[in-house]
Every structure is written in C-alpha cells, then in structure tokens.
C-alpha cells in the first residue's frame, strides 16, 4: 500500500461527527465484523439493484432461491460451485502471503488446454487417464503463475500486474491451439475432438453434472484451511502476508515463499481448467472456461471473506447461489441474470471501500497488511 500518499489524502477527508465515527469504528474493529457486514451489504445491494431495475424483491428472491436449490437445480449449483471454489483458492493462497494473483483466466485456459492435449495425445490406462491430464493442467497453471515471482523479485514488477498481463496472452495461446494444431477438423467450431472415454471424470449421481471434481476441490479447500491454520508453512505464509519485513527478520525465505504460493494458486487454477475439460462435454471448447467468469467471482468471494479459509467456502456458496439463481430468475420472471453480475461488481467495490475505511482507522501506524486489504 502506498501508505504515505494515500494517508495524506485521507487526512484531508472531511471530518465525521465524533460520536458517529466512534460507533462506526467500534463496529469495524469488532472481530469477524468484516465478512458479516460484507455479506449483509451484499444482500442490501442486491435488493437495491432489484428495486432499481423495477423488480419486486418479493418475487425475485424466491425465484433466485428456486433457481439455485430448487428441484433439479441443486445438482447444477453444486457443479458450479467447483470452478468458483477452485478459482477462489487460486486467488486466496497467494493472497494469504500478500501476493495478488489476478491471472486466473490465463492459468485456467492453459490448464484446460494442457489437460486436453495430454488426454488426446497420450492414451493412458486406468486411473492415469484422468490423473495425468489433471497433473499436467496443474503444472501448466503453476508455471504460468510462478513466472510472476521472479518478475517481482528480479525486476520489481508487482505480481498483481504481471499475473494480469500474462493472462490475456495465455488465453489467446490456448485459443490458437484449439483453433489450429489441436482443433477438431472439419467442424468449423473452435474446439478439440472429444476426449477418450477413459479420460472422462467419473460422475457421481445421475445427471453427470456432479463429478469427482466436487470431492476433489472440497478436499483441496480443506487441506488449504488445515495447512493455513496448523502447519509451519501456513504460519510462515500468514506472517509474510501480515508483515513481510517481520517474516524476513524471523528467517522466513519470503521470496521463495511468495513464489511457492503463486505457483500453488496457479496450480489450483490450472487444475480447475483440467476438471472442466475432463467433465461434460468432455472437450476443450474455446472460451467455455473463461466466459462464465469463475475467476473474478472467486476473487470477489475471497475478498468478501477477507481471505479467511473458514469463510471462503461460505462466500463462494453465496455468490454461486446468486449466480445460478440469477439464471433461474431470468427463466422464471424474465429478469436478466446480468443483474447478479452487477451485484458482484458492487460487492468488490464495497469490500474495497471497507478496506479503505479500515486503512483510515489505522492510518499512520505504518502497518497496512495484505490481510487488511481484504478485511
């Protein structure tokens, strides 16, 4: 954070009446206040957006809920949870160490194309037919995200910039591959041929939407939460995010750790790409991975949860329900589902405003931390 400059500008902000200010600061400072306030704010915002669009919330909310968890829709919602949760991990893991991975789209696309390529090019027996493409997907994502670390430590380019800027070329590269060398000949559609049956993710349940991907991503989330809270590595990551200089002082190899968290985040994003490609419709379709916007929904969820591992699944679920339910609302009462995207954007603004307010409270003690950015 550019504490000096921003602090200076804040100092010029108009003064608030002291009593109101004190009450507000008490609320902001309360432990766990950030996610609760942010979620409440999300619902208020949704209502405001609905009203502004001339839709009765009394009609819209039931439609959203039915659309998300109603008959036959729950399975679809759960299937949708997977990529968003995975992309939330891709952002959250480096975020805990104070690094920003905004390149999820590129890592996702590269992971997807790597998985598709391996599954098509090298027919493997048994479980390997699924495991190897997923590993390739994770590796591709990790390499792309990992590049950001030396760019920062050697050249001083912040990860937030390099991950974002590397994302678009990566998406374009995957798009090129699927149009030419890896594309299905003769269809005119930018997609790979269907993957061999052996490489299909095993489905759990009837519709085929819920696959092995669901338990896999849930297990990853649990492993992350555990590592964050209970392991030495998790401790060092949190210390680095809370105060990089403090971690360095304590003997933590902060640069290596930052590289590792970025690579791990990228691996999660790549893995999500692989999981999507190995699930229905069992091929890499150009644009199908990035179009639904899992990356930024995941980022919004992590910011909303202030990066706390326990809260991330909750906020992911909230946003997924809004997303999927929004489509149901569109079908049912003819309200465009893009309204939920409006809400999502507003959530990010809200969280950023919240972080600024907290920074205002803490200004001058020179201790802005990555944790607070999302808090």
């Amino acid at each position: 954070m550019t504490a000096g400059i921003r602090g200076a500008r804040r100092a010029d902000a108009p003064e608030r009446p002291p009593a109101l200010r004190a009450a507000w600061e008490r609320i902001v400072a309360a432990p766990g206040a950030a996610p609760v306030l942010a979620i409440a704010g999300t619902l208020v915002l949704t209502t405001v957006v609905l009203l502004a669009a001339g839709v009765s919330p009394a009609e819209a909310y039931p439609a959203i809920v039915r659309g998300a968890v109603g008959e036959g829709n729950l399975e679809y919602t759960v299937a949708n949870l997977v990529p968003t949760l995975g992309m939330a991990l891709a952002f959250a893991i480096p975020f805990r160490a104070g690094e920003f991975n905004l390149g999820g789209d590129g890592q996702l696309a590269l992971g997807g194309i790597a998985a598709a390529w391996l599954a098509l090019a090298v027919p493997l027996p048994g479980g390997l037919a699924v495991a190897a493409p997923l590993a390739a997907a994770a590796l591709a994502g990790a390499l792309l995200a990992g590049v950001a670390a030396p760019l920062r430590t050697r050249l001083g380019i912040p990860a937030i910039v390099s991950t974002l800027l590397l994302s678009t070329p990566a998406v374009a590269f995957a798009s090129y591959l699927v149009r030419f060398p890896l594309g299905e000949q003769g269809t005119g559609i930018a997609q790979t041929p269907p993957l061999p049956e052996a490489a299909h993710l095993p489905a759990l349940g009837g519709s085929g939407h819920v696959t092995l991907a669901v338990p896999l991503v849930l297990a990853l989330t649990a492993a992350w939460a555990y590592a964050d809270a209970r392991t030495v590595l998790g401790y060092e990551v949190r210390a680095t995010g809370a105060n990089r200089e403090f971690a360095r002082y304590g003997g933590v190899a902060v640069d290596r750790l930052a590289t590792a968290t970025l690579a791990l985040g990228g691996a999660c994003a790549g893995l999500v790409g692989g999981l999507i490609v190995l699930g229905p419709p069992y091929r890499f379709v150009d644009g199908a991975l990035t179009a639904p916007g899992h990356t930024f929904t995941g980022i919004a969820a992590v910011l909303l949860a202030a990066g706390r591992p326990a809260a991330v699944p909750v906020t992911v679920a909230l946003l997924t329900v809004l997303h999927v339910g929004g489509e149901g609302m569109e079908r049912e009462i003819g309200v465009p589902s893009s309204l939920t995207q409006v809400v999502e954007g507003l959530v990010i603004v809200l969280v950023a405003a919240f972080a600024t307010l907290r920074g205002l409270r803490d200004r001058g003690n020179g201790t802005a931390t990555a944790g607070e950015v999302g808090a």
Partner: protein, 546 residues
C-alpha cells in the same frame, strides 16, 4: 525536558522582527494512532534565514514539515503565512502560498528532461496549446544561472547523478515561486563536496529574501549552513538556538536528552582477553548509489559483555546491524563479520545466522519486530516456528504455541489481554518486552539490540535494562545500539561511537562520559575541538541509479 531559559527567546519578543515571520507553526499537535508525533510544537521561520529543524529519527521532524507543506493536517494548532492564518488542505494549497519541498526521495520522471521535469504542471504554452519547450529550457537555464544551480536543461534526468537530480528538485520548487523551501534530509544522498555546493546554493536562495527549512540530523551541517535551529525530541521542542551562539555539544544534549531515570547499576566486568563472540573487521558498505555508509568499521563483543554503539541517528548504525543480521539490502560490502567463530558471507541467510546463535531486537518495532495484526502467541513463535518443542502431531501445535506464549509473558512481565490478542493492542513497553522475551528466550549467544527503550514508559525501561544486564550476566555477548547516552553509560562495558559511517571513538566504561561520547558523536576531535573529516572518498563520480 525543560528548555534552558537562555536558549528560548520567545519568538515574538526577542527576535523583534520588524516584519512578520515568513511562516509560523503554532501549537502543532499531530497524532498517528498511538504515536504522538508532534506535541504542541511552535516553529517560526524568518524571511531570509536558513532554519534547521533537527532531532533523532522519530522525533517528529518530517511530520512537522509535512504539516507546513500541507501533506498532513494538524490535530491541533495552526499555520501562519506572513502573519495571516492559512489552512493548507493539500500540497497544492501550500505551493500556491509559496512553499516548496524537496523530499528525501526525489519525485522526478527519469525519462523526461530536466526542463520538462522542472516545468511539469506549470508548463509554458504556445498560442497553439503546445508546450513551449524552448521557453521552458530558457526559463530553467535562467533560474539555474540566478541561483548557481547549473544543470543542462536538455539532459535526461535518468542520466544525472543524484546530487544533480536534487538540484532539479530545487529548481522545480523555485520555478513555482517558492519563497519557503523545505529540504528533508537533503544531504543523505550527497557526497561532502555536493553538500558544500548545496549549502552555497541555499545561501543564494536566502539572499533573495526566501527562507529555507533544513530538516536534518547531521549537526555539522546545522552548524555550517543554518542561521537558527529548532531541536525536536519525541515530538516536543527541546531547544531553540541561534546557530552562531551554540555548539554541537549543546545541540546533542537537546537532541538526545540527558539520562534515563535510575538505570540499574551494572558492575563492570573484569577485563577479558578472550575471543570475540561477534567480531566485525574493516567493514565498508556502499549503497547501490555508491554512497559510503560504513567506512572501515571494526568492533568486537566478548561473551558476557555489553558493548554500546553510540551515534547520532543515520551515522551507519542501521547498516552495521543489517550486515550482522543478514537483512541488508543490495549494495557493496567489504570486510569480515565473524559470528561465534564462523565467518558470515552474504550467502548466509537470516535463518542460518539465527541458527548459529544470533538474536536481534530491532529498533523498528511495528515494521520489523512484530506483525501487529497477528496474535501475541503467533508473534512469539517467529524464528522458532521450526523448533521441535512446538511440533504437534500434525505441524505446529496450537496448544504448545500458546502455552509457551503464556510462560514467556509471565516470565518477562508482558501484560496483554490474552495471548490471542493482536500485538497491536499492546502498549509500546509491553510490545517491546514481548520482543525481548522472544529473542532472549532463544538459545542465542549473541544478541543485537537496537534502541531497546525507545518509546516505552519508565517502568518498562527499568525492566528492559535489567533483562539485558541479566542476559550479559549469563554469558551472552550483547551489542547495544542506542542514542540514549544514559542507557549506554548504565549498561555498556565499552562504547564505540559512530560518526558519518566511521568509528570516531572506542571508550571504556570509565572513559565514557557524556561529554566524550557527545564530542565523538558530532565528529569533533576531543583534543583539538575541530570537526573531524567525514567519511572520505565517496561516490567517485556519483553515478548510479536509485
């Protein structure tokens, strides 16, 4: 600290200025969180004078001039400009009122020319709306001519040495019509020769009736370049002097205060010729700009000894400590450092040095010694997170971490709501005791301690001093960097004095009087009373990029 009456001419009476002050800060108070940066500070700047604002790091100098320049707004107090009350909401307001500031870190565009940098935001334009580059160059050349600030207006700033870049900054302020020029630590980046040139430029500036506010902690400069001095210590004014009537010694006293109350008497250890636990030999450090920060420093600490390092802040203490602890930024170094017999190279990581037996209590508590948002227990773990004692069945045992934190808090008298409370909620004294608890509870034979009692209350000070004395009694080698002379005299067996990156004195306990330390701190040779040469061959050509 009471201000000696003779040194405090009430600004309005004794000065008897026929015209109002160019600028006046009245009763300025500014608080940042728990830190009181300025506490009722008055500062009056007369037209045509060079007014030095001096004090240790953290004394509140930069905050004060930032308020004058509109970067911060005071919590209490106000600013007068030519006797009229003004409110600066931003630096733009201050600039409009004829203020200019040269920051410690230059704010220039390296890719643009000198002229472009100088006129930026106030460019001369042709009738077509295009920038009149020729006019800009002429204006800059003229300005440079008038003030003796010769710079080629067409040169690219990125190609210029640091000293010349500073001239560009000064030109920038003058071009905007600054009548009060604020320079924040201007000589930190300069060679002695460049500093000389800067001072003569300042004289030219004041000759036109403009005023200069010179923020510095280097006393030789204050004496050489200023007309009047205001000394700050812990946010308060502790002295106002006319430069011609004061001495370095008097300024040092005002800057660092006299003694801490009732420091524990520590018995001097018998002289010991044993091997050093920590030994620094001929250490020379240049920063990436090529400026020499340490010049041939040699010192040693034996087991059971407390060895003090005195010096005005910025004399090389930070560089010395960073070299020992392995936290140094990029730069060039020569000389050797031995820790318990092992020669340290730049490849030795912080973790390895700690494993060899080094502990470190940093000066910068919030920035380095703790992570304020993390809990007390988690802060107490740092450095030992891989220790076997803290391992549970699966990784770090939360129970062991908290149990250890409770035991340490008990033993070192750290008062906190709970070990799960964020460290930010602790008072300065308790936070420092927590840091000491962490560092002294490690099995480290060498302890580097920086300003251990800065910003802590008297009770905590005594406790901290007792802890350090006890640690030395247990055979540890302690290097104590402090600007509190009382602290050094109470604890140290020997005192090294740093001035401008070199050691100007090594004094045994009984020789280390305030006068002798003070004289060495100002670079004055006690025998001749003359200022010693500052660290000599500095940048060569001063080239390099920041």
């Amino acid at each position: 600290m009471p201000i000696p009456a003779s040194n405090t001419p009430a600004p309005d009476t004794a000065e008897a200025a026929p015209e109002p002050y160019a600028a006046e800060l009245v009763g300025i108070t500014k608080r940042f969180g728990a830190v009181l940066a300025n506490d009722g500070v008055d500062l009056a700047i007369a037209p045509g004078e060079v007014h030095a604002v001096v004090g240790e790091n953290g004394a509140g100098k930069t905050t004060l001039v930032s308020i004058l320049y509109g970067l911060h707004r005071p919590d209490a107090g106000h600013v007068l400009r030519r006797g009229v009350r003004v409110r600066f909401r931003s630096p733009a307001d201050a600039i409009a009122h004829g203020l200019g500031m040269v920051h410690q870190r230059f704010r220039l565009f390296p890719g643009l020319t000198v002229a472009e940098n100088v006129v930026i935001g106030a460019e001369p334009v042709r009738r077509t709306g295009a920038i009149d580059r020729a006019a800009a160059r002429r204006a800059v050349a003229e300005l440079g001519e008038r003030y003796g600030l010769q710079v080629d207006p067409a040169a690219r700033v990125g190609d210029l040495p640091v000293g010349v870049r500073q001239r560009v900054e000064i030109l920038k302020a003058l071009y905007r019509g600054a009548e009060i020029l604020i320079l924040d630590e201007p000589t930190a980046v300069l060679t002695p020769g460049e500093a000389e040139r800067l001072f003569s430029v300042l004289r030219t500036v004041t000759a036109t009736g403009a005023s200069v506010v010179l923020v510095t902690h280097r006393l030789a400069e204050v004496l050489a370049a200023s007309d009047r001095v205001t000394v700050l210590r812990q946010g308060r004014v502790t002295g106002r002097f006319r430069t011609a009537e004061t001495t370095a010694d008097e300024l040092v006293r005002a800057m660092i205060g006299r003694t801490v109350a009732a420091a524990p008497a520590r018995h001097a250890r018998p002289a010991d010729a044993g091997p050093y636990a920590l030994e620094v030999r001929d250490l020379t450090v240049r920063d990436p700009d090529g400026v020499v920060r340490l010049a041939g420093v040699s010192l040693g600490v034996r087991p059971g000894e407390i060895v003090g390092v005195a010096g005005v802040a910025g004399s090389g203490q930070r560089e010395l400590v960073d070299q020992i602890t392995g936290l140094a930024a990029a730069g060039h170094r020569s000389g050797t450092i031995r820790l318990l017999g092992t020669e340290l190279t730049e490849a030795d990581t912080v973790r390895r040095r700690r494993a060899l037996g080094l502990a470190y209590v940093p000066e910068d508590r919030h920035g380095r010694a703790v992570a304020p948002a993390m809990s007390l227990a988690e802060n107490l773990v740092m450095g030992d997170q891989r220790a076997r004692a803290l391992r549970g069945r699966f990784g770090l045992s939360a129970a062991a971490v908290r149990a250890r934190a409770r035991a340490l808090a008990e033993r070192f008298g750290v008062r906190a709501a709970s070990v799960d409370a964020p460290v930010a909620t602790l008072s300065g004294g308790n936070m420092q005791k927590a840091v000491l608890a962490r560092e002294l509870s490690r099995d480290a034979r060498v302890v580097v301690v920086e300003e251990p009692t800065q910003g802590v209350d008297v009770g905590a000070q005594e406790r901290i001093h007792a802890l350090l004395a006890e640690a030395a009694g247990a055979g540890r080698a302690i290097l104590l960097v402090s600007s509190e002379l009382g602290e050094l005299r109470a604890l140290a067996d020997r005192v090294y004095v740093l001035y401008a990156g070199r050691i100007t004195a090594e004094l045994a306990r009984e020789q280390a009087t305030e006068d002798r330390i003070g004289a060495a701190m100002t670079g004055t040779d006690p025998a001749t009373g003359r200022a010693a040469e500052p660290a000599a061959p500095i940048t060569g050509d001063g080239e390099g990029t920041p």
